[in-house]
Symmetry: C2
Subunit: 428 residues, 2 copies
């Protein structure tokens, strides 16, 4: 009898290798018996899987040294701090950033520059991004790490599974394929190709929240059913259901910024009226706070400066800024009430720039959300979803990109990684 | 090495039995080679599975009679028209309905009565429902069918996986466990227990749309990414992603009726303001159309009479009714624009009572949806999701319930069905 692909011996072995690597990545250091217990295999079943991952350079031994000639009874397994690295990149409206993480989720190198990307053609933006990527890959190569994948976070719609930005209104990009411009990094001379992923920044921010708690010191992340809201120039959301991103039929899910909040309200660039972005987007809040005049200066000061300006004014008690942020919270609460009534998530997570503005945005947001989700609130538990603030803040999309770039290794350890004895990647 | 549950031989066999039965249910009559081709197994692999399903009485042979002593080369497989039946029941605000379908999805018996269920206690409502169920099970028992499951559609929130209606505002029910009241049907004396499912009616309406096209003569259903909107007294939605219902963390997803449409608008019973139900719910439309006075009379005339009254007035050109339905369409379009921006479904399906009112609701609904989802519309394809009208109309939730009741048989044919030689179920 033929078996479906997943049920073949090779398929089962591949899954089990992935489960061993993922268990050690999330919870290591782990002894071999602890790995076996965690993934429900026998110790005899785990041993050859561990050996194969050690040979491939994906796992390493730590812990007490082995008594000579007696095997290594007290040894523990960790993921390798050499070998594959995930490259994350972020194209923001006013900055570019790159980071590299190792299999353990540790940031091994990062670089960022301010950049005026609004209405800049993709070509020059990608040239500057390539320069940052070359800098970062050079630094990690010196530490024995090679890029296993590159994921790029963009503030716009990306065709599902593709590398083309379908529409990024705040960059002014339409139908921009990023693959050719990134070829110097993804198809280097004399080195293996580096798989490229392009993804909406809100989606990547949400993926960063999903990382195992062990990866950044044990603080638990949100439960795997949540709506993650992030803002840079626009407002995006990512819907995570049972730990999986809901991408939509064409990959365009999560356009919270264009959910109608006041249907007869302000005209939006999208052609609609009263979209959330017209009340809680960065430009709207800057205008309402009277801080729009300071914008050019803030733009020169690098990433996040405009948000920092708002946070500073609000913490100084500037009435116009405090009012503008409260109104943004009201609009966010109305839009999120719709999302919560539709999706019944366990939590709403404020990420990206919103994380830094949470003290002034949250009270009105929570008031609207509570008022408008009563029917969906469980009377027994007296409440709807928890509203939390991302522990990653504005770093979320960049870290999420780096994690997404490593995902292929964690899901299929031996296919996506060159054997340990292959020649090292050359530094460009 | 231990294998995860799904990878055991028994697990694989169970899945393959289900795939054979599902293939024949959706596409039969099928020859054995056609079954093998459709599910990607060899003919030798399929033969013992088919034999086991024939022995269990779940499959039957049709087609040309077998030449004596030569096997049955021209025989084709169909699902049995005896054996397990799915019982669907619907508790509406003004009616009760029951139907039974066989494995082929054919309706074998149905019964309905008008009933004034609003603010009636669950006990008496369930007593009347049990009487209808007894009538229907008696009729199908005479045809050799036995109930394999009962699913009940209710206009309210149901705890995920449970039998308790957490809140059904239009019935006035809170924390009502339906299991005890239905015990005469689900735990009959001298017969096997009948598993009970209680589910939100909008979810079941959406499940009915998911039935294989073969089940009702080949008309294709909507693609498996859609938002299904239905209305009885309230308005509910079901979100289907990759063919699966999105239920939400607590099972409360789909509360489209309480999505804010005009945030400073009319007060809603839920405690919010400007909820969709206040503009497009049945009571709101009846009030706005001036037809509310005819309501008591219509209530006596049985299920759907109020909707029929609206449709009659609108097709007679009554200006107040036409205007009321157009305003309902506008409100629906605004709420659905939010849902489409968030979820990017392939289609929006109007079901339940809305299907019958589509001619007057659709134009304004589509206008709002197009205006407010431009950013999520694929420029290459110039459009957002298709808006379609359910082919099942007001029958959707009831049929969906009957299908849900059969689901356990189709997913695990041998566990959930008594062997063919077990004593027949007694008619109560």
């Amino acid at each position: 009898m033929t078996l479906p692909g997943n049920d073949t011996q090779a398929g089962i072995r591949r899954r089990n290798l992935a489960r061993v690597l993922q268990a050690v990545a999330a919870h290591g250091p782990l002894s071999r018996p602890a790995v076996a217990a965690r993934i429900g295999l026998t110790r005899a079943g785990v041993a050859p899987l561990v050996d194969e991952l050690l040979r491939a350079g994906l796992l390493a031994e730590s812990g007490p040294a082995a008594p000579r000639g007696r095997g290594r009874p007290g040894s523990e397994l960790v993921v390798s701090d050499r070998g594959p690295a995930g490259l994350g990149a972020e194209i923001g409206v006013d900055h570019l950033a790159v980071c590299a993480i190792d299999l353990g989720g540790r940031i091994r190198a990062r670089a960022a520059v301010g950049a005026a990307n609004r209405n800049s053609a993709p070509g020059p933006v990608l040239e500057r991004l390539v320069a940052l990527l070359v800098e970062v890959t050079g630094r990690i190569a010196a530490e024995g790490l090679r890029p296993a994948g590159l994921a790029v976070a963009v503030p716009g719609l990306v065709a599902r599974g593709g590398t083309t930005v379908v529409h990024a209104p705040n960059l002014g990009w339409r139908a921009a394929d990023l693959a050719p411009g990134l070829a110097p990094v993804t198809a280097p001379a004399n080195s293996p190709a580096v798989p490229l992923t392009v993804e909406n920044e809100a989606n990547l921010g949400a993926l960063a929240e999903l990382r195992p708690a062990g990866a950044d010191g044990g603080r638990p992340g949100p439960p795997p059913d949540f709506v993650h809201v992030s803002a840079e120039a626009g407002i995006g959301a990512a819907v995570v259901v049972d730990g999986q991103l809901l991408r939509g039929a064409r990959g365009f899910a999560g356009e919270l910024g264009h959910v109608p909040v006041y249907p007869d309200g302000r005209r939006c660039d999208c052609g609609g009226r009263g979209c959330l972005e017209q009340y809680a987007g960065e430009a709207a809040v800057l205008r309402a706070s009277g801080a729009a005049a300071g914008r050019a200066a803030a733009g020169e000061a690098g990433p996040g400066a405009r948000i920092a300006l708002l946070a500073r004014r609000a913490s100084d008690g500037d009435p116009a800024t405090v009012r503008a942020l409260a109104e943004a919270g009201t609009a966010l609460g109305i839009a999120l009430a719709g999302a919560v009534n539709l999706l019944d998530p366990r939590a709403v997570v404020l990420g990206g720039a919103l994380a830094g503005l949470a003290p002034w945005v949250l009270p009105s947001l929570e008031r609207e959300l509570t008022l408008r989700t009563a029917v969906a609130a469980d009377p027994a538990r007296a409440g709807g979803p928890a509203v939390t603030v991302s522990r990653l803040g504005a770093d979320g999309p960049l870290l999420g990109a780096a994690h997404a770039a490593l995902r292929a290794v964690l899901d299929d350890p031996l296919r996506s990684c060159a054997p340990a004895d292959s020649p090292p990647v050359r530094t460009p």
